[in-house]
Amino acid sequence: MEATIADGLIAIGAGLAVLTGAGTGAGQGVSASGGAQAVGRNPEAEGKIRIMMIIGQAVAESSALYGLLIALILIFTKMSS
């Protein structure tokens, strides 16, 4: 099958959709830095802080996943070849 211009545009769109990861990366970085500061200030509560940080990161991750899902849907259902 020939690849058409529409296929190329779909691929570009999928690439743009995955850019949602940028915001998630920044957010997870902020939460990790907060966790590091909290451990530095209060080393006894390390376990609780780690759990809290990982939960926050897992919730923040969802926006990146929406972008990834949109990219996958574009690639696997819209492309003709």
Binding site: I54, I55, A58, V59, E61, S62, L65, L68, L69, L72
Partner: protein, 265 residues
């Protein structure tokens, strides 16, 4: 085609795997229940019993920190089951090689809908249908469309989180294995047969993949199971006013006590 035939013709591989998980867990829990019944409380507990106790303590702490002891008979069994159920689903691919059930969107969507069924049941019971409907006009009546969108958006985001994590993990592992197969073919200059681009014995992937499996299956599976359970607890308790419920329960108790004393005297 009859309705039952149609139902089974629509089953995907993942929903069948979900059925295997459910049957497996049912057997495990029947056996464990018999085992717990046979324990003697005055003797030293066995290792399995200690693990069960720890799990119970963990899940009750989590529940108490959010629900403050309310609705214990309905939400606690569901939540304590949910975390094991999602964990088993996520680890299924690691231990048996079947595809994880949560990579079919119907499975997380169903779980999220059950969780939100709890939310609306509690709100109708403890807040009242009229007050619940008034809540959609909160804080001003202009917010109504946004509040109505919230009904769909919350279960959607909750199920999409589980689905997306599992799908991303399984896809990345599949791409990685096929890349390792290609690398193995190139490294050892094996002839590529049409239709068998991936080598049958992919030992390069087997050497390099375990850390990825550790992250995407073990770590991500635990985190997602925990987060889904925590969000179930938080979302279902968000409309409930526990102080108000406490006061009502106390008033009811006082009324009953005064009734009893009146009947005695």
């Amino acid at each position: 085609m009859s309705a039952i035939e149609y139902y089974f013709s629509q089953q995907s591989e993942q929903t069948m795997n979900l059925l295997y998980v459910a049957i497996f867990l049912a057997i495990v829990f029947v056996v464990l229940g018999k085992y717990i019944d046979r324990q003697e409380p005055m003797k030293r507990p066995s290792k399995i019993m200690v693990v069960i106790d720890m799990y119970y303590g963990f899940i009750t702490n989590l529940y108490d920190s959010i629900y403050k002891g309310h609705c214990k008979k309905t939400i606690l069994p569901y939540v304590s089951m949910l975390i094991i159920f999602i964990l088993t689903m996520n680890w299924l691919g690691l231990f048996t090689g079947l595809s994880a059930p949560a990579t079919d969107y119907n499975v997380p969507l169903g779980l999220a809908l059950i969780s939100f069924g709890f939310k609306y049941a509690y709100e109708f019971k403890y807040v009242g249908v009229v007050n619940h409907m008034k809540g959609y006009l909160d804080p001003v009546a202009v917010m109504l469309p946004l509040n109505l969108m919230d009904i769909i958006a919350k279960p959607l985001s909750m199920s999409m989180r589980l689905f997306g994590n599992l799908l991303a993990g399984s896809l990345i592992l599949a791409i990685f294995y096929s890349a390792m197969g290609g690398a193995q073919n190139m490294l050892f200059a094996l002839p590529v047969v049409e239709g068998f681009e991936n080598p049958i014995f992919n030992f390069l992937g087997a050497i390099v993949a375990p850390p990825l499996h550790f992250y995407f299956d073990v770590f991500s599976g635990v985190i997602q199971a925990f987060v889904f359970t925590l969000l179930t607890l938080i979302f279902s308790s968000i409309g409930l006013d526990f102080d108000d419920m406490d006061e009502k329960a106390k008033a009811k108790q006082l009324k009953e006590e005064s009734k009893q004393t009146a009947s005695v005297s």
